[in-house]
Symmetry: D2
Subunit: 351 residues, 4 copies
């Protein structure tokens, strides 16, 4: 588990750049005997795919998943399951102008300082496009978790500062923002449009809930359930904050207010968000992430080029004015990867 | 890197329970040639030690570090550096009453469900006491980082909902709360006392700043600087939220407000908190964690026992009415472990 | 580092089955700035390719390597370098008859017992075909090692019990057995033909020499140079023994005979084979592996089927009567993977 | 899994030098609920302990194991199990003369070249004394394996070129060489004495058998059963060769001779040594290791010092004229560590 590999027992390695030939993943540790539903993998990729609405980039990618190994007659064999996603619409010419310039708010400068060079086409590996491979892997993890009764749902809780006031699970996939509140979604959409029209972008807060976890998942002390989920979430470029249960609000409470009392019938509250001491409590797992506004904007910005000279840029290209709806399936996928891994590890916890 | 081991090149394994014979750590990957200052390790342990003020537990522990290996004539040899900390004041009798009962807000229930049994004495390994071993390891990491010009400082930004209004670095270690604002510290102290006197507890927000990092540290995509730090922070039992730079506030901003522009003289702002795309930017690294109120309170609480029967408990024992000041050196230590590891990994990034 | 991933800093994950759509690898940790020679990768694959002579299987595979990521403008970027090799000549119909039967000397039975099912087409992942992905990865490792002056050469030291009596480096790639002794090669070839004609197969001993290593590579105590090389060699299905330097003969010597004395001019002998205490000595690294005779033979054999019933089989299909010449580039590749990894790790050994 | 940590699910980290304060290990992944027999750990340490007979070093060490964590009321809790072994008889003065000189056949030169310095007292971490920690960890692994019906036995198959002609399991622990043949043991002892009296040393071959393994253990492709065992064996400083089943002899056989045929009643032979394709077959696991003669001899040897100057040394100190009998429990311990790890991993192989 390091760099481009994630997980201990359910272990995923990803590869690929925005404008290279392909993206993909290798999943090592899929238990033999798991039926693998290729169509369900494709459905998850379709949810993340660009070009679906006015709030997402116009880049056209079919994001077709090809399973290269690890499945025989529709069932996992226990060997590595590799999935390939070819890039199709690599309009590298859009990026030539940016070859020498570091885009503000992007990883460009860091990559250059780290590696002494960078693939500037669409951000290379730092592009959000890299997450397609994670969604494919996550789709397999979800199939494993489904056999255990675990269900993961993420949605936009807040966009451009506008928070949902109601929750309708059915609504989530109906509006382009993946907002569970139809009314809020209309206001959020207006705010995203306004930002886009002024060459700007917006961010938001995504909430994720996982139901059906038994108590006992999570590995003290460094692979705690929340520790691994937080690592997973911050491995997404746009994430600037993560909180579980009451999160930062818990810091303002008294112990008597924050503790979740129990009775013979179970917990009375869920301030903890389903995790205590890094181990699942059996209550719904609840966490939220802060998603920053897309750094690619067409407004003019001050920056520098690789020689250190000052430059002013306006980023043309094709970008998401709000990445929140497209990050939702990615959050679910990363959550699934963590849970599948901890579920398998739990098999070794007792004699 | 899994379970009780953290890090890839600078790799720490910890062991020990609250009321067992000892705690300790093994650090694998300390570069040979590093002078190891045993007194500096002890100083960090002393900062975390209980019994220092009215806001911390009265448990008496000398927390004396003994270096068992890996150092010869005061210098690291490149072999594993093991540090032992004996437990002294294990008043297990305090905990007999809790042997069968799950304390609300604690890891008791999770450990029992995970392992089918638990060491109930002081919470066993889920006790905050476990972090002593991390502080010892972190002290060695800090010595490595010092040779690279990196300096880490954490402090209480907010306690019991009272936020600091000013910042005086010298003040931090002067007041018992590790607050950088002497005025706020007085109010915070009053709030902590009030909670303690009513058998309750308080939480707070800790901010951590690391200065002197070069640009380029952090390993895309799963060992990003922020991803690893978040894992490190959530590996602490009391942490419920982590945010970098503007954090959750960034989710409410426009891209044009949130992006950090650059000029030939460097970045103009640091909304990102020193990390972009998971790689350090060379600006100060800034993040905050939400610390929940100590779950151990003497007020009566509803809970259940191992047989599932309802129980009412009031936790006597010795507990911190506010864990924030004692978590400060732990946050610094975990930050040091992450940075030391990523600093060594960076040595392999280029040809 | 586990299961289908090998290495710590130079980390390779492989995937693929004999008769699935493709094989491949993901190399994580290629230092940015390394020029990547795609033609050299292909050359190594061509050396391992089937169908080259009368002593190898007639299966026709072009084994064309496609680089999917991690290289930009011919140079490694520091991101994962994925290589894809499509399977072309998957004559699965040859294997239908073996779907229910465990071939003696093969992994069939083990896979079935381990996973509860198996991909019986050509042995699935247990096929020697899986090593193509390793050869591709090893070719990249060799390019990194070449920048450090390290050169790896393997050859058939013995085939069918006939040992080479002379060593001519130029001869190795001239004869179909990769034997460094043209005279011995003729006798060996006759023995292989005789075995093939009687529906049987032969094995041999491969020797590998790595020159140009500096002293100091290898990580005590579990990632010692010889420990990692041995793991690498036994990860090949046909290998039944590994020895370094004088190997098993050393067990029959006195200490005074076996120790390699040193003078100001260097070591006087190399009984150790270039490794002491698991660390390279700067002398040539020398080791040998025992390669068992190919288990696929057309002679009748007793075995059982998945229901436990006794069966007699004669394996038709296309098989190597002697796998030794084709394992030679695989041994070199695995050696390169180990050395590249330890070379990068060594960068973290000292302050 | 790297450097001083071994294993994936049953994971052992060791520390300690020959003449430092202590040696020890941390075992992460002991399944909760395993009764831990401290006396059995001590018994294994006693078997490896120096000073037991005329063929072993006269160094006096009690090698007392203290369990520091992970056990509560005699049962594993699932948290890291740390074991401490204090060094007692560190006669560092014996080694002052060797501070500047590299002993032939030892790791001294490699350590110095790797780390730029070394703990010269008794070889520091490269001393065979380091293996005490492994024996302690292995003793816990054996207790886990015993619950699964697995039994491991190693013995001296050959010493100083004299091979055992008969096998009596009861004899092994009766003679000082751990030889299963009382007659051979007498001859072997005479040979060891002769070597010792002439200031020299001898080596030998150890065979190890593990019985009771089910079919299915071992993780293709890099954590194969034999690959992991070979890594484990070569992680011991004295080992120069490893072979499974018929080993190097298999390289001289025809496929029809080497394949193990099966009938409804099971395998008819065990040429493979219980492992095929890296997975256990359910037959006894059988392997042999070549142990080189102890490099510490009192005869004069040519060597160099740290400045590169030629020197002649005769090593006084206290050394084993034949390390074979003391390596036997270490081989068993390392085998147990591998098997325990693969046994736990197997729990994740199927849905």
């Amino acid at each position: 588990m390091s760099r481009n590999t994630f997980g201990i027992c359910f272990k995923v390695t990803t590869f690929g750049e925005s404008h290279g030939p392909a993206l993909g993943c290798v999943i090592d540790g899929v238990p033999a005997g798991l039926p693998v539903d290729a169509a369900a993998i494709q459905r998850e990729l379709d949810r993340r795919r660009p070009g679906q609405s006015e709030v997402t980039t116009a880049r056209r990618e079919s994001d077709t998943a090809e399973i290269l190994s690890g499945v025989f007659e529709g069932v996992a064999t226990g060997t590595p399951l590799a999935i390939l996603i070819r890039n199709c619409d690599q309009r590298s010419r859009d990026y030539g102008a940016l070859a020498e310039v570091f885009r503000p708010g992007h990883a460009d400068y860091g990559y250059f300082m780290k590696y002494g060079r960078r693939d500037y086409r669409g951000g290379g590996r730092s592009s959000g496009r890299e997450t397609a491979a994670r969604v494919a892997a996550g789709a397999v993890a979800r199939q494993l978790l489904a056999t255990l009764g675990v269900k993961i749902t993420a949605y936009a809780l807040e966009i451009a500062g506008i928070r949902c006031r109601s929750f309708d699970r059915e609504e989530i996939e109906r509006n382009p923002l993946r907002s569970p509140d139809a009314d809020a979604a209309r206001e959020q959409l207006a705010a995203v449009r306004a930002a886009r029209n002024s060459g700007d972008s917006t961010g938001g807060v995504v909430e994720c809930v996982a139901e059906g976890l038994p108590a006992g998942w999570g590995e003290p002390v460094f692979d705690k359930l929340d520790a691994r989920l937080a690592q997973a979430m911050f491995s997404l470029g746009a994430v600037k904050g993560v909180e579980f249960g009451d999160g930062f609000e818990a810091a303002r409470r008294l112990g008597s207010e924050n503790n979740d009392a129990m009775t013979a019938g179970g917990f009375l509250t869920n301030h903890a968000g389903g995790v205590l001491g890094g181990i699942s409590t059996g209550q719904p797992l609840v966490f939220r992430i802060a998603v920053k506004p897309t750094p690619s904007i067409s407004r003019e910005q001050n920056t520098v080029d690789q020689s250190g000279g000052s430059r002013v840029i306006a980023i043309a290209g094709r970008h998401d004015p709000c990445i929140v709806p497209r990050i939702v399936p990615v959050v679910e996928a990363m959550t699934a990867l963590v849970l599948a891994d901890l579920a398998l590890l739990q098999r070794t916890a007792q004699l």
